[in-house]
Symmetry: C2
Subunit: 372 residues, 2 copies
């Protein structure tokens, strides 16, 4: 199967490397026909091209791999590819979270596949496992650590007793965090993955208007304080569904220190799902990086090359009911930690935002229950 890669950054290069390596029978059947680069950039390989229309008009190229990142022009290029009758595989969580419904419907209308395994949890076969689990069970809950950068920062703060700003600087130096780290540390990246995961898990169109909170205000003393209470902290996503309702949050969460989540090191991810029959299943691996994310793209490409169809995903109307995720919180303001019992997350976040106006360094964390 001939493919075109849009974007030749870290992930694009990983995909190219895995295909060129021809390590398995399946990867050997893939061929990179075009690499789309911006006008004016140097063409370091003969297959590099800056004319997107020419790629779309190549009938031998049946699949577009979008790894440019960002919303536009990625959204426009994906839509053009789908309407031109090309399958699309992407690693771009921001664009999938923003245009999930449009992409799914356009792909279906044009009888092509739209796949995005690499958009959530990097090299972990999370999307695939979620769809497989849905064959057997109604998924009741999903949760997990979906942002490697935040996890790396928290892990370094604990292991090396660092302040947040020092750990963030180290993450930036190691290439794990961007110069502007907001998307990672404010929970936006995790929220995009939550939107995608919850939409699939619960057969809905989840949008990003749920409570989102990151680790920007986390201090070393907070981790020490929570550890004395027997807790570790992780930036987590949780989403639940019950009949025609659902809820979702992204929050720093206190978890038992001998839980699997608390022992996820460095920039790894861990994703969980719970169904009535299978119980709770957890999936661990590299949440980012050239080859791991590349391998998730390759998994989608091989499935398309094999002619494997995605299980049908519906988009039902379910109402957002944050009370499904009511729980206990700890709020630090003016150097004191206060516990709030059985709070609706929307109300708790509203209260927190009021507090931030008075104490801009205030921190809100959720107390995880067993199984969260």
């Amino acid at each position: 199967m001939k493919i075109a890669i849009l974007g030749f950054g870290t992930v694009g290069k990983g995909i190219y490397d895995i295909i060129e390596r021809k390590d398995t029978k399946d990867t050997a059947q893939l061929e990179v026909a075009h690499i789309f680069i911006r006008k004016g950039k140097e063409k370091t390989l003969p297959i590099m091209i800056d004319d997107y229309e020419a790629i779309l008009q190549d009938p031998s190229c049946s699949c577009i791999v979008e790894v440019m990142g960002g919303i536009e022009p990625a959204h426009r290029y994906i839509m053009k590819a789908l309407t031109a009758g090309k399958h699309v595989v992407t690693a771009n969580k921001a664009v999938v979270a923003a245009h999930y419904k449009e992409f799914m419907e356009t792909a279906a209308a044009n009888h092509v596949q739209f796949r995005f395994e690499a958009s959530c949890a990097g090299g972990i076969p999370w999307i695939h496992s979620l769809l497989q689990a849905k064959r057997i069970d109604t998924i009741k809950e999903i949760s997990g650590i979906f942002n490697g950068t935040s996890n790396y920062i928290i892990d370094q703060m604990v292991k090396k007793q660092l302040d947040f700003s020092v750990a963030l600087k180290q993450a930036q130096d190691a290439g794990y965090a961007e110069a502007d780290p907001s998307a990672d540390i404010d929970g936006i990246d995790t929220a995009n993955k939550a939107v995608i995961s919850a939409s699939l898990a619960f057969d809905i169109v989840c949008t990003r208007d749920f409570p989102i909170n990151g680790i920007r205000h986390l201090q070393k003393r907070d981790l020490d304080h929570f550890l004395q209470m027997g807790y570790s902290l992780r930036l987590m996503m949780i989403a639940r569904s019950k009949a025609d309702r659902y809820a979702c949050v992204v929050e720093p969460m206190l978890i038992e220190k001998n839980s699997l989540e608390a022992n996820v090191p460095d920039n790894y991810n861990l994703a969980s799902l719970t169904g009535d029959s299978s119980g709770t299943l957890k999936f661990y691996g590299q949440g980012a990086g050239s080859l791991p994310t590349g391998s998730a793209i390759i998994a989608d490409l091989i499935a398309i090359a094999h002619g494997e169809l995605r299980d049908e995903v519906t988009m039902m109307e379910k109402s957002f009911d944050p009370s499904l995720l009511s729980g206990d919180y700890i709020l630090r303001q003016s150097d004191t930690y206060e516990t709030y019992k059985d709070m609706d997350p929307m109300q708790m976040h509203a209260l927190y935002h009021d507090v931030l106006a008075k104490d801009p360094s205030a921190l809100l964390v959720r107390i995880g229950k067993r199984g969260e």
Copy 2:
């Protein structure tokens, strides 16, 4: 798709329950046409039958689910089903490990499927994930905790400060361990799962003649001693492959106490695989039980009902080279702990068996390296 269930114990009932629940579109398409029970047993459901030939002669029943356990008559029944042109799905690790090659070849010759997701790691989609990973990578290593009973015993010994015999008794009372617990605590059950997993992972016919060692001689004082060294202990399987060689061991292993493995609680399982692109992926869930194991059987049944073919598995000749798993060991004999560096597992196990003749309570444990 109409199926027959052979054996109506814990797992058989779980399969029946999930199908009757009709929780998803896919499970609603399955129908239990027959439940095969032994002659003389009471027929509590109208679909119960004690005539196996009658099941084989029912053309509407296309798939046999074998959950009787044990080698015979399970082996005979599976062979009859495959040669009669019926798909076979089984949870029976002992019979798959003993007759892997025969089953795979007979299924291929009769153009039917032979599936055994439930034979390894219960509700964890381990076999499926392994085959998916092989599409992208040559698998270099697999490892994990595949016996929930042993894990429960070790976990209870640590958490409740129990002696081995007390923890074993509790596991038996809780229904996790058999009256004769040898298969679990001597590593035989783990070894069967290692045979199946290594055969698939490395495209070989792995047999059970590799070093196998269980937790029968584990004492509370051992766990205390190892904890002082910074280690937790788990009963693990490790298998490696390099070019045309492979190795496999089942051993109690010392692992860092903040590793994922060290934090696997109760009777859960955790299975790992490592490939060049994906890196290390880990899969966690219930390794046994009515519904979890039932859900793995259901996953196979749905795949067959969808007409999904298994990726081709070859059976190459690779030589067994235990030096691929050379490592460090600790041997406790006559109340002293001695470390052995960089030992070939075959030689180390031979030495251990000599020591056991003198000190029947002697214990051998492997020291895990990072990533093992």
